[in-house]
């Protein structure tokens, strides 16, 4: 049962997305009756499923919602902007109800009640809980009005005899067979079940009333019953729509052999309803649902394959066997493994649509809370990113969007005074750009007040009062820990989480965040993220006999330091002149304790790297071994976070190599506390 429930909740996710997509289309002013139908069916399917699992609050709310949609469909209710806005909020509450039903917790009662009241005002329908048979009638209604092309409606009564069961036939199988012919509703008649005392477990008591819409003729229907014809009563009537409502559906399964059919059949109805709801909107290709764990396992295995392939190639090289065929076969293998890897990664990729859709809900909520008017424009929502990136990006993105409306976009009167439309615009876009995905959040609000940002930063001791800062440096101050510009703590943004947390969240994903802003015209946050967290392109270098990997994304160039460019600074710091600019030269071997004697800068190679805030440094290494794609393995999972190390990988010879955390290395240098000192403290 729990598993079926799980499937229901998965369906719910799809249905809620469909619901919201439909409502958003209505909000844009599209008036295709099919959209209203889709919305109605989505709500209806949620209600139907919820009913069979006894999720009463969900049923009650979706019933109300459904009634409103039924009115809208029958053109008894005009879908003006205000009504659609209410419906969108109702969709949010419905999503909350689903979430509570799935994960427990509480629905915001006041909000739910307010929306519920708004819905009641929109409809003339009775609240749920009155006539028990009403939902069934509703179900019939939805089936009858579903678009039917040259289909006829058949009403059937099926009453199996005990012989049918004795011959090991299953009514459920028959009903399933019938369902393949078209859309159908099934009702169970349990009137004949006697009291428990008189019940003969081998006797057949149940009968079913079936309403089937199908393009098939009577003989096709009769064919279904071919093998059981003599063991049950079957009545088939064509065009008979006005079938009298069957008595109540059994909720409590009676004892006896036949009883187990009851819940199963109810499930059948739910299944049928769900399918019909999805069908009309199928546009994308066929999909299957696969457990994430299975995909992840495949990703890991392919990672192993890549490593093994590299090992094989290395062994071949070392063995000195020179054979054209082997070389060619190895090259083919290399291409194949890369193709497999790309395909597997593509399986984990998801469009950012789901995340963007959450943002549209967020915008509605923030609008409501602040009284500001915001038009959300979404672009590139079909851009695909690894699902982990999407999962872990949702929080930072939520925060940025919330901030953009709360701090960026002005109140309508203020906007009008500044010759802007009362409604602010928030643009959310995603696109692939040179192997990364770039997400932009642009508002047309007031922009960053640099004077104020600077003042606050000085107040909080984040910068010294006499520091000269460029505009972008000032803008970037908001990413510092302990910075928050909200002059009063608002319920929205002032949650003790600043932009520094956003930045860390993005960086933890291997991403970068930047900000451009123009006073009075708005701000744009740009997030650049890797497409996947599983592999990265890196430069393999050797340091003190160890192999280290520098991520290519951080690497500007590699240079051989010349003696004239290297200048010692103080006791143990060295600067290097690089393109007319002095950058700190960091001896990685000393920093990591891989060497006890410093390396002569002129005898090594300097990797010029840049961190996320544009800080540069030269990392001094002995030699460059090559460039390769590496599979990222966590160091933290089995050990702990190591300063200066982002992750590990496995080299062609099976050994572990560490991947450099360039941000941490440059930051440690900036704070003037060399990591080597910490090492001494740790070991001493």
């Amino acid at each position: 049962m729990e598993r079926i429930k799980g499937v229901f909740f998965q369906d719910c996710d799809d249905l809620l997305v469909e619901l919201e997509t439909g409502l958003l289309a209505l909000q844009r002013g599209e008036r295709d009756p099919e959209i209203v139908n889709t919305v109605f069916r989505a709500v209806h399917s949620v209600k139907g499923g919820a009913g069979s699992f006894g999720l009463d609050p969900l049923v009650a709310f979706s019933h109300l919602f459904e009634s409103v949609m039924a009115d809208a469909r029958a053109s008894r209710l005009a879908l003006d902007a205000e009504v659609v806005a209410t419906l969108l909020r109702a969709a949010d509450v419905l999503a909350d109800h689903v979430k509570v039903a799935r994960e427990g917790g509480e629905v915001d009662a006041a909000r739910a009640a307010a929306i519920g009241k708004a819905l009641v005002e929109l409809t003339s329908a009775l609240p749920y809980g009155g006539a028990e048979s009403e939902p069934q009638e509703d179900a019939l209604l939805s089936i009858q009005s579903a678009p039917a092309q040259a289909t006829r409606c058949w009403a059937m009564r099926i009453r199996p005899h005990r012989e049918l069961y004795a011959k090991a036939n299953e009514p459920l199988a028959l009903l399933r067979e019938l369902r393949r012919l078209g859309e159908m509703t099934v009702e169970l008649n349990d009137d004949d079940i006697p009291l428990l005392d008189d019940l003969d477990p081998e006797q057949a008591y149940l009968s079913w009333t079936v309403l089937l819409h199908t393009a098939q003729n009577e003989s096709a229907i009769r064919d279904v019953f071919e093998f059981v014809e003599n063991d049950c009563d079957i009545e088939v009537k064509g065009e008979s729509v006005n079938i009298e409502p069957a008595p109540q559906t059994v909720a409590l399964a009676p004892v006896g052999d036949t009883s187990r059919e009851a819940p199963a059949v109810r499930q059948t109805v739910v299944g049928a309803a769900t399918e019909t709801a999805i069908e009309p909107s199928v546009k994308a290709g066929e999909t299957i649902r696969v457990d994430v764990e299975r995909v992840d396992r495949l990703v890991n295995l392919v990672g192993e394959l890549v490593i093994n392939q590299a090992m094989l190639a290395q062994h071949m090289l070392a063995s000195g066997v020179a054979m054209n065929q082997i070389d060619m076969a190895l090259e083919d293998l290399d291409h194949l493994t890369r193709d497999i890897q790309d395909s597997v990664m593509a399986m984990r990729a998801q469009p950012v649509k789901s995340m963007f859709q959450r943002m549209s809900r967020l915008v509605r909520e923030v609008e409501l809370a602040t009284g500001k008017q915001v038009n959300l424009i979404v672009a590139g929502s079909s851009t695909e990113v690894d699902r982990t990136v999407i999962e872990r990006l949702t929080d930072p993105l939520t925060h940025i969007v919330r901030n953009a409306i709360d701090h960026g976009i002005e109140q309508p009167p203020e906007r009008l005074a500044n010759n802007k439309p009362a409604q602010g615009t928030l643009r959310l876009s995603a696109a692939h750009r040179s192997g990364r995905v770039v997400i932009e959040i642009a508002d047309d609000g007031q922009g960053i007040d640099r004077e104020r940002v600077r003042k606050i930063a000085i107040e909080r001791n984040l910068v010294s009062a006499d520091a000269t800062l460029s505009e972008s440096e000032v803008d970037n101050l908001i990413f510092l820990p302990g910075f928050s510009t909200a002059s009063q703590i608002s319920a929205l943004s002032g949650r003790g989480v600043g932009m520094d947390v956003v930045k860390r969240g993005v960086q933890a994903l291997g991403g970068r965040i930047s900000l451009t802003s123009k006073k009075g015209e708005g701000s744009t946050f740009t997030l650049s993220l890797p497409l996947t967290l599983a592999v990265l392109d890196g430069m393999t270098v050797s340091v003190g006999g160890q192999s280290l990997i520098a991520p290519l994304t951080t690497l500007l160039e590699t240079v051989q330091p010349k003696a004239v460019d290297v200048h010692p600074l103080g006791a143990n710091a060295t600067l290097m002149k690089f393109r007319g600019e002095f950058v700190p030269l960091i001896d990685l071997g000393m920093l990591f304790g891989y060497r006890t004697e410093p390396l002569q800068p002129t005898k090594g190679v300097a990797l010029i790297v840049e961190d996320d805030v544009g800080g540069r440094a030269g990392l001094l290494v002995e030699e460059i071994l090559g460039q390769r794609q590496v599979v990222i393995k966590s160091v933290q999972a089995n050990y702990r976070a190591v300063d200066g190390i982002a992750a590990a990988t496995i080299l062609g010879d099976g050994r572990v190599a560490l991947i450099l955390d360039v941000n941490a290395i440059i930051a440690s240098q900036r704070q003037g506390a060399p990591l080597a000192d910490q090492r001494r403290a740790a070991t001493g």
Binding site: N300, N638, R640, D643, A648, I650, V656, A682
Partner: protein
């Protein structure tokens, strides 16, 4: 016998015993994932001396803890023959570098004794209990204290 009746006899536990610098230690067999030969570890920067580095166990990267360094016991002269016992410590997979594996012991809970007061302080942190097998003393390792960060939390 009365004791046995009032406290139901616990299921016997199986322990794997191993040598570190001539002394016998053991861990619960349920924590052990596998035992493998020594392999060169990649040293980690800023790691305590007893953390030898990381190794690759069929695609999983895990740390190696040199047990003689961790327990402060002089290692026996078996450099080339040392073995790694891969154990689960909570959700972490960790390799313990020891001098050699001895035996599988089947013991019951009542055979385990609290660590006597006389044991050195460093050792007491890492030893949960002691037991006697054929006149030899075997110390049961407290795995949860072996990793550095958990060590700090305990101190």
């Amino acid at each position: 016998m009365i004791n046995v009746q009032s406290k139901p006899q616990t299921k016997p536990r199986e322990l794997i015993s191993f040598l570190i610098g001539g002394q016998q230690f053991c861990v619960d067999i349920m924590a052990v994932r596998e035992i493998r030969g020594w392999s060169q570890a990649t040293p980690l920067p800023h790691a305590p001396a007893y953390v030898q580095g990381m190794i690759n166990l069929r695609g999983t990267v895990l740390p190696i803890i040199d047990m003689s360094a961790r327990l402060g016991i002089a290692p026996a002269d078996v450099a080339g023959r040392r073995v790694t016992i891969v154990v689960w410590i909570g959700t972490r997979l960790v390799g313990l570098l020891v001098d050699g594996v001895c035996d599988i012991l089947t013991v019951t809970e009542d055979m385990l004794q609290a660590t006597p007061e006389v044991a050195s302080d460093t050792l007491r942190v890492f030893v949960n209990a002691v037991l006697t097998i054929e006149d030899r003393m075997v110390c049961l390792i407290a795995l949860e204290h072996l990793l550095p960060e958990l060590d700090v939390a305990a101190a």
